[in-house]
Symmetry: C2
């Protein structure tokens, strides 16, 4: 089978919610995936996870993902792991079962394949007990939903070669993940220990009738949850310490650790050594930015995330919507082959509106992306702009001829209508999932000096490349709809 | 002084990072604010917090906030609290100091004013000890940055009247906050107990050399932090339990509480009663949605938040950017008084682009908002659309005449050019912070039946109101730039 020889094959052993997430992560990034799971429901369950993944993972990106790989279901571990570069075990959390499965995997897998375990609790040295090639087995602990959340905790024992672990991390990065290599093995790795601490405290609060599950969730999602999504714990506290920094924060709030704030009282001694260690690590982590810069970064992120939450009304988004409504109530009222393809992407859910289709704003977002791509094609790229010159849009005409919906793959081709002096006149055509024209955009850009904010001619390189496109495109037919004004009757 | 008689005055006693955040929250929501802080640096510190708040809080909203209130610095508590409806104490976390300040506040404040304390640790009954009117004092515990994060933990003792507490909550909602009333007082309330548990575990991990502060932060922000920002702990676990639900999750993962995952081993017994209690509370909280619906809500939120993080490249945003780049590299290359004001808003930071000004996409976003507002004005509002009819944009022409930047307040007025049958032809004019025209938008909308997706005439009510506007606006001059095509030379 051709698939078996693919250089990009992953084997997923165990296809529940976590295994299914691994399937989606590899498959939607162009890998072939072979699944082994004795559960007769596995195919149905994985299909459900895949359906979720297909509607959300591509929406993270402003470019199309690779074509999906091939998915096959295998009746044996031997068949599934053959020629796989990555084998992921997501079996039930019992060491005896994992040992049995890992042994069978090693019997048939390539010895250069990485064998990752999704275990949340076991240490790699425990997984490796009695293994034929212990160094091949590492903890690769993901977070649900695996197809969206980037974190993978990677834990290897001393049995694993460093270069081998780094190779595994490169594979994970290739499918959009963020491997976090933990240097020292410990039960439950890092994230689950933190979660466990909160879970336990949450259980006490519920048990003692202090708060309901909803109140506890609200205490998280309307407050520190929004900080943690971007910064985590220590960087947040670094900001709380203000200009005096991390050591000041610990000195100020450290004593609270000894207060009767929880029923769990065993705490480390805040020795000067520990304080210095934390302060130094915080410096290494965040010292490149000032507190003010960190604050603004934090605030821009909070605004961005909370604006995103407005669409669903979840958490802080709902609060903002309610408040906004209250405030408002108070007021008076290279398709055609010779043209470059400048956009190829999926329409995200967040681009659709109350009319159940892609909103006009995001048509222009896509067309602006096309203009940016075309600018880069002629050398007016990020570096050029950084040097102080760019194009400003002066005038734009949009036509909407059909509808596009969430999940549609759209492409845009771009034609130069005129390129002369400071002017660049483009015509973008947006094609929908069936290849038909959905919208067009005619736009006039003016080349400017970003310092003076005035029009000027492009640098010779850019002008030259633009002229090449202009000359070639001048031989093409004038696109239908060019030169129209709004409301013009068709000729 | 007129200010002293304002029905909306807040007094902020203690103006550090937290007090300054309270100042900003009230001030930017139109309240007059009087500050008392003996620190000679207070004015400078508060100005810094206000500068941050002014560039971020308005950016959460698609409508302008009220005009800022007046800010005054007072040399006494007596002066500051006079006639204030809300008095917020943010003094150092020492009970003796707080008692002294609260006594002085009560001596001079209106007896109907709410006196909130920003304390993170003390119970209201402790704050109320020896108070002249104990019921007037409540814990109102905010989260940094107070001007952005909506959560306020409200804790009252039995000394406080329920209606009084509810009145206080109404004030907080009025300035965009989310008061969370905690029914039973406990040291450190809810959120800080959870934070304390994680902080302690984090300190152990650092102390024992398992992970650095950065690794711990990464373990949070690339994974569960993104879930918590929208859902918190229990709702996340509810999803993890899958179709079997919360009780299944606890049964499956509960035993892990007894595992040696942390050094803090005192845990509550998972009695059937406790499990049933948690399951029931989770049902009450989230039972209205199926697991599938919760998953999609979660995914849409994750996409939205992570897309927002792409702009700064923080956390998951950086991971996505890197991956996207890798993927791309692989590919070939009522202003004028007679017209309705349909938009009044500040330009968010997230609306600006590499050219250092508002991006064309967001001009159309603002103009689309203007069309929506105008539709609502003629009765084609949410309810009308829900009933199955709407307007689709057919054609749009944009002109960019000047630049707008982050923080600028922009307004749009809308003129009906033509309203006939299924057609609605509008001309929007966008004014910048100095009142000059920054951009215009001429747009033709077609009335449609959302079921057939075909053009049809509007309902009589809507058609009638549209005609009224059309007839009135027909008497006005045709706006400059109407009827242009792209690249047309000026007459």
């Amino acid at each position: 089978m051709a698939m078996e020889n693919s250089p990009h094959k992953a084997a997923i052993i165990g296809g529940g919610v976590i295994g299914g997430g691994w399937v989606a992560r590899f498959l939607l990034n162009g890998w072939d995936v072979a699944v082994y799971d004795p559960d007769p429901e596995a195919e149905r369950k994985i299909a459900a996870v895949l359906a979720n993944a297909r509607r959300s993972l591509p929406a993270l990106y402003d470019t199309a993902l690779p074509d999906e790989g091939k998915l096959i279901f295998c009746s044996s571990i031997a068949h599934a792991v053959k020629d796989a570069r990555w084998v992921q075990e997501s079996a039930p959390e019992q060491l005896r079962i994992k040992h049995r499965i890992l042994a069978e995997i090693q019997q048939h897998a390539d010895e250069n394949a990485v064998i990752g375990s999704s275990t949340s609790g076991f240490k790699p040295s425990e997984l490796q007990e009695g293994a034929s090639r212990p160094g091949q087995i590492v903890v690769a602990h993901p977070f649900n939903p695996v197809y969206l959340l980037p974190l993978i905790e990677i834990v290897a024992s001393e049995q694993s070669d460093k270069a081998f672990v780094e190779g595994g991390c490169a594979i994970l990065r290739d499918v959009g993940l963020k491997p976090l290599v933990i240097g020292k093995e410990i039960d439950a790795h890092i994230a689950d220990r933190l979660l466990e601490a909160v879970w336990r405290e949450g259980l006490w609060l519920v048990n003692d009738g202090i708060a309901t599950t909803e109140e506890i969730d609200d205490a998280i999602r309307f407050g520190f949850g929004l900080r943690w999504a971007q910064m985590g714990l220590f960087e947040t506290y670094r900001i709380a310490g203000g200009e005096a920094g991390m050591a000041h924060f610990i000195a100020q709030f450290g004593p609270a650790l000894k207060w009767p704030w929880t029923k769990l009282m065993d705490v480390p001694d805040l020795t000067p050594e520990l304080i210095a260690k934390i302060a130094a690590q915080s410096d290494a982590q965040s010292g490149a930015l000032s507190i003010r810069e960190l604050e603004r970064l934090r605030d821009d992120n909070l605004v961005g995330m909370m604006r995103a939450l407005k669409k669903s009304g979840s958490g802080a988004g709902g609060t903002i919507n309610d408040h906004e409504k209250a405030l408002s109530d108070k007021k008076p009222a290279s398709g055609p082959h010779t043209l470059p393809q400048t956009v190829c992407r999926q329409v995200p859910q967040s681009w659709t509106d109350y009319n159940g289709h892609m909103n006009e704003t995001h048509y222009l977002e896509a067309f602006a992306q096309a203009s940016d791509t075309f600018m880069a094609l002629i050398g007016a790229d990020d570096a050029y702009i950084t040097k102080g010159k760019s194009f400003f849009t002066a005038e734009t005409h949009l036509r909407h001829l059909a509808e596009a919906g969430a999940g549609d793959t759209i492409t845009i081709t771009s034609q130069v209508m005129m390129a002369e002096g400071k002017k660049m006149h483009l015509f973008h055509t947006l094609y929908g999932k069936d290849g038909g024209i959905v919208a067009t955009c005619e736009t006039l850009l003016i080349h400017v000096d970003l310092t003076t904010r005035r029009a000027c001619t492009p640098d010779a390189d850019v002008a030259g490349r633009l002229k090449e496109f202009g000359d070639a495109h001048a031989k093409l037919a004038k696109p239908d709809g060019a030169g129209r004004h709004v409301g013009q009757t068709n000729a």
